[in-house]
């Protein structure tokens, strides 16, 4: 693989130096329009960061953009967090490789949203301040609950970061012919800049702008595909079935979710996981009140749903217009392994399709947008991870709340830098994994540790600190252990063979979520301490605030 990368690099440099593209060089030309668009994005987003930095003075500004984001803006930002490189490249790549299975993923990612709206979003807004741990620890003991929530957040954030880093590496590898590791380092450095200087305000606006660009680009691609087939889905699918190696199997659920346990477990991970992702939950604190929080979810669900329908069309479009087209084939790989592998792997299907429908200029645009996507999502993730470290662990647990805001922000910035370094190292270590599966793992942990504690803290009066800590830890531990023993880590990474796994399922959520809920229930109802009594008594006041918003955090006007 290294040889191929260096070959690309050499070709890229040669093309740049010669200015004329001929022979083999045409396979991987240096795309000047793409590079210019990259640079425009980067300088634009740095400009936003500069603007945001001047408006980010207090901790509230840093963590929640002062609470002044509108419902529509926040909806776009949430959708932007969702329309990550993993969703865009991973799901369209999954549709390209397996057809219908990609749609199962999309639906799972989406249907958590309505449930979050109905049950969680308003309460979250009414109770919280900066992180979801503010809500979970509202009437429970700060120390243990925040420690648990911070570990759940950091684990989720790091797994999600890996997926994004892998996406960025592949993308720049394909577009520039640069070594994978260079891209990962570049993304890591830029995200640290955005977050440390611009805080949530910069992170949100980078996300909004990217969401608009990505939705526009994906719409254009889907329209271009449909136009080829006279807007007849039947014609598109018929052609795809004809050229795909799996034939008609791509029109029905297939190999991805092969057994009942996997299917149900994946469903639970996606649905509950959405309600436990720290970088998404954090967005509910950036709006002024419960009304805006609701509107956020309405817009977000609409944009995300629309986007997933587009990725489905894009995936099928890639089957027809990229598969078996020699210009997108990885000839070196084909010579060794046979079949028809495409350059950069299946996750690059959407990128190749952009070239097929819009030439080099549009390839440049989509690549630039995909790059912006990664930057925007990793920034949000890093901010959430850094908040867990500075606001939950350092300020609340370590300093017991006796800390001034400026110092807390400083810790947050150091944490951001640390996360950036960790993301770079892990991004390089996980180069060869399918990035959609990576996000699945992050979801399992969010669903098993963060969600049960958060949900029960708002809905179940009898929840106590002991129950939440033991049950939540059991959920987190079960999820992590089963992921480590599962087919990807124990199987493919350690033993080089998925079948060598000790735990046979890729998605542990069915088991780990059950363990968490049972653990929380059991260790709460058996908790007869005085503290437990006080915590149960404090539920009424919490419930009234969560239902009405009386006493909730307001917005700061700028």
């Amino acid at each position: 693989m290294k040889k191929i990368i260096f070959a690309f690099l050499a070709l890229g440099v040669a093309a740049f130096a010669a200015g004329a593209l001929e022979g083999e060089v045409e396979k991987q030309p240096l795309n000047i329009s793409a590079i210019i668009m990259f640079l425009v994005f980067v300088s634009g987003t740095l400009g936003i960061t500069y603007w945001a930095a001047k408006r980010t003075k207090t901790a509230k500004d840093f963590y929640t953009a002062g609470g002044g984001i509108t419902g529509l803006q926040n909806g776009l930002a949430i959708a932007g967090d969702y329309m990550s490189a993993a969703s865009f490249l991973g799901i369209s790549g999954l549709v390209y490789a397996a057809g219908y299975d990609g749609l199962i993923y999309s639906i799972g990612f989406l249907v958590g949203w309505p449930v979050i709206l109905f049950l969680v979003s308003e309460r979250l807004r009414n109770l919280g301040k900066y992180t979801f741990a503010d809500v979970a620890a509202y009437r429970l003991k700060q120390g243990p609950i925040r420690t648990l929530a911070a570990f759940g957040s950091i684990a989720t954030v790091i797994l999600y970061l890996i997926a994004q880093m892998v996406g960025s590496g592949k993308l720049i590898q394909l577009l520039f012919g640069l070594p994978y590791s260079w891209a990962v380092v570049l993304v890591g450095a830029l995200m640290v800049l955005y977050v440390t200087f611009g805080g949530m305000l910069a992170t949100t606006w980078v996300q909004i702008i990217k969401a608009v660009l990505l939705l526009s680009g994906a719409t254009f691609m889907a329209l271009a595909v449909m136009l080829q087939f006279g807007f007849s889905p039947e014609a598109l699918f018929a052609k795809a079935v004809e050229v795909h190696a799996n034939g008609e199997a791509i029109m029905a659920p297939g190999g991805l979710v092969s057994d009942p346990v996997s299917a149900i477990s994946l469903g639970i991970a996606l649905m509950f996981g959405t309600a436990g992702l720290p970088h998404i939950l954090m967005r509910f604190f950036t709006v002024a009140d419960a009304k805006e929080a609701r509107k956020s979810v309405f817009f977000a669900t609409g944009f995300i749903g629309y986007f997933y329908i587009l990725t489905f069309i894009i995936g099928f479009g890639a089957i027809v217009m990229v598969l078996n087209h020699p210009e997108y084939l990885d000839l070196a790989k084909q010579a060794i392994e046979g079949g028809s592998p495409i350059l950069g792997g299946n996750n690059m299907a959407a990128i190749h399709l952009s070239h097929a429908v819009g030439g080099n200029f549009f390839l440049g645009f989509i690549s630039a947008v995909a790059f912006a996507t990664i930057l925007a999502v990793v920034s949000g993730l890093t901010l959430a991870g850094a908040s867990a470290i500075s606001h939950d662990l350092y300020a609340s647990v370590f300093m017991k709340g006796k800390i001034d805001e400026q110092r807390e922000m400083k810790v947050s910035k150091i944490a951001t830098l640390l996360l950036g370094i960790i993301a770079i190292i892990l991004g390089i270590a996980f180069e060869k994994q399918n990035i959609a599966f990576m996000v699945g793992l992050a979801f399992a942990i969010a669903a098993s540790a963060n969600f049960p504690v958060l949900f029960l803290s708002m809905f179940w009066k009898k929840l106590t600190t002991r129950g939440a800590v033991i049950g939540g830890s059991l959920g987190l531990l079960t999820a992590v252990v089963l992921v480590v023993l599962g087919p990807i880590v124990w199987g493919q990474i350690i033993n080089g063979d998925a079948a060598a796994a000790i735990f046979p399922y890729k998605y542990p959520a069915l088991f780990s979520v059950t363990v968490a809920f049972i653990g929380i229930w059991f260790f709460s109802v058996t908790d007869k301490s005085d503290d437990a009594k006080k915590e149960i008594e404090a539920f009424d006041a919490q419930d009234v605030r969560s239902q009405t918003g009386i006493g909730a955090e307001g917005a700061v006007s700028h």
Partner: protein
């Protein structure tokens, strides 16, 4: 929040109306979404070929419109909830807040 105020709000009939109406509405919609989604997942788990049933003479299977409809359904449900919550429920919340101030 002081315990007396909590009690006062909890005894307010408007508060009781808000809580019962909203929780009934929210759970009904949530269960509707869950039932549809898990029905879909269970079909995939136990009888995946059902979604591969052909619709006509071509290659189109019923799985595809069903998948797209679930996405549309999710969006419509959020719209229904937001419409009622931003009107009726917020109005009740506002009245409760005013009664506390007064």
């Amino acid at each position: 929040m002081k315990q007396e105020i909590v009690k006062q709000i909890q005894e307010n009939p408007k508060y009781q109306e808000l809580v019962s109406k909203r929780s009934k509405f929210a759970w009904t919609l949530s269960i509707a979404m869950l039932v549809i989604y898990y029905a879909f997942i269970l079909v995939i788990a136990f009888d995946p070929s059902l979604l591969g049933t052909k619709m006509g003479d071509g290659v189109m299977t019923i799985g595809i419109p069903i998948g797209v409809l679930i996405i549309v359904f999710a969006f419509v449900l959020t719209g229904i909830y937001v419409r009622r919550a931003n009107g009726e429920f917020d109005e009740l919340s506002r009245e409760i807040k005013e009664s506390v101030k007064g």
